[in-house]
Amino acid sequence: MALLEVRELSVTYRPRDGVPVRAVDRVSFDVAEGEFVGLLGESGCGKSTLGNAVLRLLDKPAAITGGTVVFDGTDITTAREETLRSMRWARISTVFQSSMNSLNPVITVGAQFEDTFQAHGIDPGHRAAELLAMVSLDPVVLRRFPHELSGGMKQRVALALALALSPRFVLLDEPTTGLDVVVQRSILDRLRELQVELGFAVLFISHDLGTVMEMADRVMVMYAGEIVEDQPARAMTAAQLHPYSRGLLGSYADPRAAQISVTYVPGRPPDLSREQRGCRFAARCPMVVDACLSEHPELLPAGQGLARCLMVDSPAIPGGFAVPGRARVDTAEGPPVLAVRDVVKDYRGGTRAVDKVSFDLHSGRVTALVGQSGSGKTTLAKLVTGIERPTEGSVRFGATDVGALRGRKLRAYRRHVQLVFQDPFAALNPTSTVAYALSRPLRNHLGLSAAEAGERAADLLEVVGLAPAAQYLDKLPHQLSGGQRQRVVIARALAPEPAILVADEPISMLDVSIRAEILELLDRLARDRGIAMLYITHDLLSARMLADEVLVLSEGRVVEGGPTLRVIRHAEHAYTKLLLDALPKPV
């Protein structure tokens, strides 16, 4: 008998003022003692909901509407609260998606450990300190309050806390999301070691493909509330059974590879508040046949695992989602559009965020700026766009010294330099329509009339692939998907026909499948329109895909720079190597 047996589990959200959403639909799977299982899936497909249901931690308006969860012989879905309470943590524990907020802000870390021991009648002794040592933290952390710890430290505390009572099963729901790549790496490495050492089973939820594929023994893929594929990781890396898995894995590649080609899955998942007929992936599937529209496939054995696809036995259509690889033309080096020379930026309190950085931007070329969190990437973007003034050095746009611009002149400069924001959810005013957002730069910078601006806005939407434009103009941001929003943000940045586009981590908040799509768009724009682009990221894969040139930034200094391929494949500086080491190495 498996440690955890989930059978036909369904979860429905029934908001008081909304339509019910069946977020988890008849899901069945097992987790064996000591097994490390990964759960993959696009944002919103029901991963966290499933995890919470397994722990029976669902809050209103969600409720388990069917099925059972049997853990070690006890049915969790029907267990009494007290039985459950004593089971929790002692045998089954968790680290949440947002463990930044999962510690009580007003009591010390130590007190939270004590709470946990006390609730289970265990004498804490020195366990807390030992546990912290296990995740490489100093015991003084016990006396600290959560806000006194960095994100990575909090995450480690959460992990230590999860292991406090030596549980047999730990649910990890994106335990490192939002952390710096390097930190993330060290935590995950530690986690894997501990798992091997202590032998607990893990259900690891993430949409970070590389990581899941590297860490898990077995991987399940979820789509629209259902498990669509379940295979050993190794087997899945080699061959995906479900077209969706194929699309998903296609969007990942190792940036160090000699050749990379990345695909994406266009379209959006179905609306779960509606009755579903047929295969849920049918609308986005390149292999769709008529039967897919009417017949709902079951999760059936296939290959080395299970798959939910009628066409599972048909040969995969090669390049189903593939993005046509672009020819990497080396644009001739003309005069730089923007020249950054020895800029230094000191913030009050003595932080030197940027230290003597120099580089050029050329039209039609993409320069990537990579580096760990806090390395000064955003600060550089601010200097380039005139949001901040350099303490020393100069930023020159043709003959203009950007650092000296103010008021009207600065506004005029911004006609030529535009910014694409990291978070498409924050970059659009939730109360203004797409048409309004696009019309502002058109009217302000190009002096178009309202009618002209309207027409141009529609054109812009077509350019970024939101066609037909009429369908999007009157929408509010919340009516768009993340990818669509990011396209609107890009369209807005393109509106004044800038010479330079600064994109500050434009894809970090997006789902893997959408990332490729946006990257492709940016790439096209840079080439077709001859825009000089500064692409900021901590994701080497995207840098590899998009950039002609890479600058590696560490503690405000450029430690390495050059053509993309050279920097990534033949890194020389230790810091660059550290960044590369942080990349997952899927089996």
């Binding site: 931690l57 463990s99 907020n101 999962s102 007003v106 009591i107 709470d115 946990t116 609730a119 006194e148």
Partner: protein, 331 residues
């Protein structure tokens, strides 16, 4: 340190502004203290005797002349802690009068505020704990209606029902006419009896704000990830409600409470005038209508200092209670 200096600067500046306003507001009012006193003395006939006005003006030495000079005198007097002689209670000093009224106000309103706060917070926490149950509805809806009853009206009804019809408690005053104020048990129990009705009326309307505030805060904190994780950690419901819900939810309420405490002097006008309670609120109303500048100024100053001190206390308290803001002072 910078932070501290900034706060201190803020308090000093606000205090100065308040002191100045307190000087100006009374003086902007029309009317003359001497006339006000005579017209009060004239009672129903409302006949003002000019000779008497003249004499009283001489008696009070009502300041005249240059406003700026008056302001200078006023500032130096205030700095010296000299608030002058009350016009209404001539020749008693303002300091004496405030000393008379202060304990009553502070005890009555202080005690009821504390009780309201504690009761309101507990009820609010209970409502949040039993969210959407019948208890919750009863507490929120019930307290809303009761809490919105006009305070003075409630006071009148209480006076009539308990003070006159049932005759359970004295209807007015701070103590009986027969007792002699002092630190005796007899006087104390007399004073307690007299404070029952005013206290009751304050207690009926007092807790509602705390109830709603606490409930809403706690509903929020109980929905936060740390509360959910606490549940996952197998903590008991009560423990979660207390340490992970109430403990955090109470913080904004505590600040609110400190500020409310500072406002008690300003907020007692109604209760004291209806119950004829010998505190500062009623004295202030009287001072305003009698154009008793010295008393008015001192009372306003008192209130302002109270509010400022409470603000300061709230800042400090928040720092003590909420570790999150403790470190921020350095920043």
């Amino acid at each position: 340190m910078r932070y501290f200096l900034r706060r201190a600067g803020f308090f000093a500046a606000t205090l100065w502004a308040a002191v100045t306003l307190n000087f100006l507001i009374p003086r902007l009012q029309p009317g003359d203290p001497a006339e006000a006193i005579v017209s009060r003395l004239s009672g129903e006939t409302r006949i003002v005797d000019p000779a008497q006005v003249e004499a009283i003006r001489k008696m009070l030495g009502v300041p005249g002349g240059n406003l700026l000079a008056q302001y200078g005198d006023y500032l130096s007097a205030v700095l010296a802690g000299d608030f002058g002689v009350s016009y209404t209670y001539f020749p008693y000093t303002v300091t004496h009068m405030i000393a008379e009224g202060l304990p009553w106000t502070v005890v009555l309103v202080g005690v009821t505020q504390v009780v309201s706060f504690v009761a309101g917070t507990l009820l609010g926490a209970w409502a949040a704990y039993r969210r959407n149950s019948r208890v919750d509805s009863l507490i929120t809806l019930g307290s809303t209606f009761v809490g919105t009853l006009p305070f003075f009206w409630l006071a009148l009804v209480l006076i009539y029902v308990f003070g006159f019809t049932l005759n359970w408690f004295p209807a007015q005053g701070g103590y009986g006419g027969g007792s002699s104020p002092g630190w005796t048990w007899a006087f104390f129990s007399d004073a307690v009896q007299h404070s029952v009705l005013p206290a009751l009326s304050l207690l009926i309307v007092g807790p509602v704000g705390w109830i709603i505030g606490m409930r809403n805060n706690m509903v929020q904190t109980l929905g936060e990830d740390y509360a959910r994780l606490a549940r996952a950690r197998g903590l008991t419901r009560r423990r979660i409600a207390l340490t992970y819900g109430a403990r955090i939810a109470v913080l904004p309420n505590v600040t609110g409470f400190a500020i409310a405490l500072g406002g008690i002097l300003g907020g007692t006008v109604l209760v004291e005038s209806v119950f004829n309670y010998p505190g500062l609120g009623r004295m202030m109303l009287e001072a305003v209508s009698n154009r008793d500048y010295p008393l008015m100024q001192a009372l306003f100053l008192f209130i302002t200092i109270g509010v400022l001190a409470a603000n300061f206390l709230a800042d400090v308290l928040y720092g003590v209670l909420d570790p999150r803001v403790r470190g921020e002072e350095a920043a």
